[in-house]
């Protein structure tokens, strides 16, 4: 990078830190941005500036928002008594993409992990419990990943909420478009255990 101007080098270095990009692909992306200055570079810079100035964590649910309370939490239409618990904001976005869930969310910010010494106090579980009463929640849907850590966390939360509210979790099994031959043993076992009348 010695022959390129310092500012461009710095941009390439920053871009190379993004997920999915390395130094070579970052260099390509920066070159592309410079060539499309008007169409890409300036709007991107403005958009990044705007997000940097306004993006913050929703104080209620942990979602990424541009105000202290995110639009999902302020919307009265979403106050239907259902609260969906997810690990990360990316999971919330995935749920929203489906367009099926009409309630509110609660982002834990991770899972219980013995290895990383993440305990219940490090997650947003106390806030979850307080929301049950303050928002009149009738059902908590545990939409945590189907991993050992995710399900350990789900069972822990379920224990904490026992007797307070109805607790459900997402089903586990064969994905849409999935072929049995390509599924791992664990998924097939889970699907078989959760079979339903047809």
């Amino acid at each position: 990078m010695s022959d390129t101007p310092r500012e461009i080098d710095a941009l390439i270095e920053m871009m190379a830190k993004l997920p999915g990009l390395g130094p070579r692909s970052a260099r390509r992306a920066v070159l592309h941005l410079i060539r499309k200055r008007g169409q890409l570079l300036m709007p991107l810079a403005q958009a990044m500036r705007a997000v940097a100035d306004t993006a913050r964590e929703c104080l209620n649910c942990g979602n990424v928002a541009t105000s202290d309370i995110c639009p999902i939490c302020t919307s009265e239409k979403r106050a239907n008594g259902e609260l969906c618990v997810v690990e990360e904001v990316a999971d919330l976005w995935a749920m929203e993409r489906s367009g099926h869930f009409k309630g509110r969310y609660h982002v834990l910010g991770g899972t219980l992990s013995a290895l990383d010494a993440i305990g219940p106090e490090d997650l947003r579980i106390p806030k979850l419990i307080s929301r049950i009463d303050s928002e009149g929640v009738t059902e908590v849907i545990l939409a945590l990943n189907a991993t050992i850590d995710g399900q350990t966390t789900a069972h822990y939360i379920s224990d904490q909420l026992q007797g307070r509210v109805s607790v459900t979790s997402l089903a586990q099994g064969v994905p849409v478009g999935g072929e049995l031959d390509y599924l791992d043993d664990g998924t097939i076992s889970a699907a078989l255990r959760a079979r339903k009348a047809f």
Partner: protein, 244 residues
């Protein structure tokens, strides 16, 4: 350097964008860490779950290097425990305690066999809580802190053993305990291979093994506290014991 072995996943830590550093309790090479290329990807995620049994090939240029693993799934245990919160908590405790206690790259045959048997039972066999309790005893013994539950430390009798001395780890009979009984730890009969393993007995046994894990084993390993996963399991078990 290259070897092949089989073992259970203890932990997985993301390394860079797509790789993972995986800690595996292997049969012939003990607790051993290596890098799995693509281990953080979606294809490998179901394979690299804690407790999963893998056939592994480890390669490194020098023996001291962290090396890389090539893994083949042998048995997934995730599905059998995911629906059972207590079994999940026990799995977390087993993997965390093994990571915490076992020295790296030292074979541990006396712990390996009971560990694999226990992992197979979790969530599948109703006797797994007793197997878990005995596994903790085997772990203590392998680490050099075995309890002597064969005879009473006071009277020498082999009958009516009901307590364990918190200082010596030796069994004490009801008669030998006398007025000191309330200062001793419980020794449930199921730990001696006698009678059915009732839930409250297992809970009592966990209190006893927990005492020695905390006061003997943890200080010998640098004084770090026991993994929180064990306490979470014990708490969950106690809750079930009370409701049973």
């Amino acid at each position: 350097m290259e070897w092949r072995d089989e073992g259970a996943v203890l932990s997985v830590r993301r390394h860079g964008e797509s790789a993972a550093i995986v800690e595996i309790f292997t049969q012939e090479h003990g607790r051993h860490v290596g890098v799995v290329r693509g281990g953080a990807g979606r294809r490998m995620a179901p394979i690299l779950q804690p407790g999963a049994q893998l056939a592994v090939t480890w390669k490194a240029r020098l023996e001291d290097h962290i090396g890389s693993y090539t893994v083949e799934p042998v048995k997934s245990r995730a599905a059998q425990v995911m629906g059972d919160g207590l079994a999940l908590a026990a799995l977390g405790s087993v993997t965390a305690l093994l990571s915490f206690t076992l020295p790296e790259r030292e074979t541990a045959p006396a712990v390996y066999a009971p560990t694999m048997a226990l992992l197979d039972m979790l969530g599948d066999n109703p006797l797994w809580p007793l197997a878990y309790l005995r596994w903790e005893l085997a772990l203590l013994e392998d680490m050099g802190f075995g309890l002597d539950l064969t005879r009473c430390a006071v009277t020498g009798s082999r009958e009516d053993l009901a307590y364990v001395s918190p200082r010596t780890g030796r069994a004490v009979s009801r008669g030998g305990a006398g007025d000191w009984a309330d200062r001793l730890l419980p020794l449930p009969p199921s730990l001696l291979g006698q009678g059915p393993a009732e839930t409250f007995e297992i809970a009592a046994g966990l209190r006893t093994t927990g005492h020695f894990l905390e006061t003997w084993l943890a200080p010998a390993l640098g004084g770090k506290p026991l993994p929180a996963a064990r306490q979470r399991f014990v708490d969950a078990f106690a809750r079930q014991s009370r409701s049973a």
